[in-house]
Symmetry: C2
């Protein structure tokens, strides 16, 4: 029941593509992440995923198109849809997704984060 | 899979205490609301509720304390906990909560909104 300040939480980490848990409700996690560069193509078979841009912008690539998401905008990627986030410059995002969600979905690799820190 | 721009969505309505649905994922709704004044004491027996402040600030009153929530901060009210939002000046909030959530929880009144608009 304590409030969470996004700026303060983002000041606690600098690594890219490493989501941090900042809240939990109704079986969902609220996560913060800093993205820069290209991620991997992947999908989540059972989870819809929300990306809200707190600072900066990024492009979400789908197989048939690309959507640019800017500050104070969000995008919901439905389960089963292949996607790849690409951030030319660093972008800060807030994620909202089920607690079961793995960052790389079905594309396990060295980028996969199995145990996320709560901050 | 279209993005949602918060400023654009907030420009579409002006009434207070009338949440609008702007997204759905994993059985949860993303809602936007403009708050001003005092709401009613209530609780949600089955739903945790997240309030993220997009613009302005408000106070969440609990029975034993009050938490002020400012821009770029969020608060999760756990299920079963009585709460009352109070906004001295208009505040814009984004809500995450299960699709089953009724705005006034267990305190049905003329403030209750049974059928929310999607915008």
């Amino acid at each position: 029941m304590k409030k969470v300040n996004l700026q303060q939480k983002f000041s606690l980490f600098s690594e890219h593509w490493s989501p941090k848990i900042v809240g939990e409700l109704n079986g969902q996690h609220v996560k913060l992440a800093k993205l820069k560069g290209e991620f991997v193509w992947h999908k989540h078979d059972e989870e819809d995923e929300l990306f809200f841009v707190v600072k900066g912008s990024f492009k979400m690539e789908y197989r048939d198109r690309t959507v640019e998401v800017n500050e104070n905008e969000f995008l919901i990627v439905p389960r089963g849809v292949e996607h790849k986030p690409v951030a030319e410059d660093e972008v800060w995002v807030m994620l909202f997704e089920p607690t079961s969600t793995l960052n790389t979905g079905d594309a396990k690799s060295e980028l996969t984060k199995n145990n996320l820190d709560s901050i």
